[in-house]
């Protein structure tokens, strides 16, 4: 996958745990783990919106395109 999810970097910057972020965003810790471990096949705009709101960042801070 050429899209990299840098969620753990942003979480470290904001000093927020997975459990807290999952609770703030309203997703299960298991789903957050899927997202962090690059296993997700798609992200809903609503989820991205909630993550950006919780981490006070832009989508580009979480998602990055890398050539294969």
């Amino acid at each position: 996958m050429a899209i990299i999810v840098n969620l753990d970097v942003m979480m470290a910057k904001r000093k927020i745990s997975s459990g807290d972020l999952a609770e703030k965003v309203g997703i299960t810790p298991a789903n957050l783990s899927i997202l962090k471990n690059q296993k997700a096949k798609a992200v809903r705009f609503s989820t991205l919106n909630d993550i950006c709101k919780a981490l006070d960042c832009q989508p580009g801070d979480i998602l990055e395109y890398q050539e294969d």
Partner: protein, 152 residues
């Protein structure tokens, strides 16, 4: 309400499957006599070659019938456990398809001594085609379900 209705259908389908399994067991038990009866009365053949082919095809088809019926029973059991779009089910459907194709081949061989059995071969292959179509739909649904499960 809908779930209750579906459970009832699954329950009765399982009962019907067990009934058919028992019928095949009975068919196996009287196989020797019924193969000869079909050979003599239906096919109007009285020679040893026809009788041998009838007996071999008869028992081969009952073995394939066991595979089909047990696969159907397992499929229904999975459905009742809410395991629907799963590779386990498509594997069972593959067994059913291969068994039906095998039964069709057996009936086609029987066509050498009893022409009418070609119709049975066509029915078996047509059923295999239907199950294969359902299997393809299930395969697509499994891919879609996996994508949906990994959409956050």
């Amino acid at each position: 309400m809908e779930s209750k209705y579906n459970n009832k259908i699954i329950k009765w389908s399982k009962v019907a499957t067990i009934f058919f399994i028992l019928l095949v067991v009975f068919a196996d038990a009287v196989g020797w006599t019924s193969a000869r009866y079909i050979c003599n009365v239906w096919a109007r053949r009285d020679d040893q070659l026809a009788y041998t082919i009838f007996t071999i095809v008869y028992y081969a088809v009952t073995v394939l019938a066991y595979v089909v019926l047990i696969s159907v029973y397992k499929l229904l059991a999975n459905m009742s456990k809410d395991v629907v779009f799963d590779t386990k089910n498509t594997k069972l459907m593959s067994y059913i398809v291969f068994s039906l194709i095998g039964a069709g081949v057996a009936f086609a061989v029987l066509g050498l001594v009893w022409g009418e059995s070609a119709f049975l071969a066509l029915v078996a292959w047509f059923m295999a085609l239907i199950v294969l179509s359902v299997k393809v739909v299930f395969d697509k649904a499994i891919v879609m379900k996996n994508d949906l499960d990994l959409t956050i």
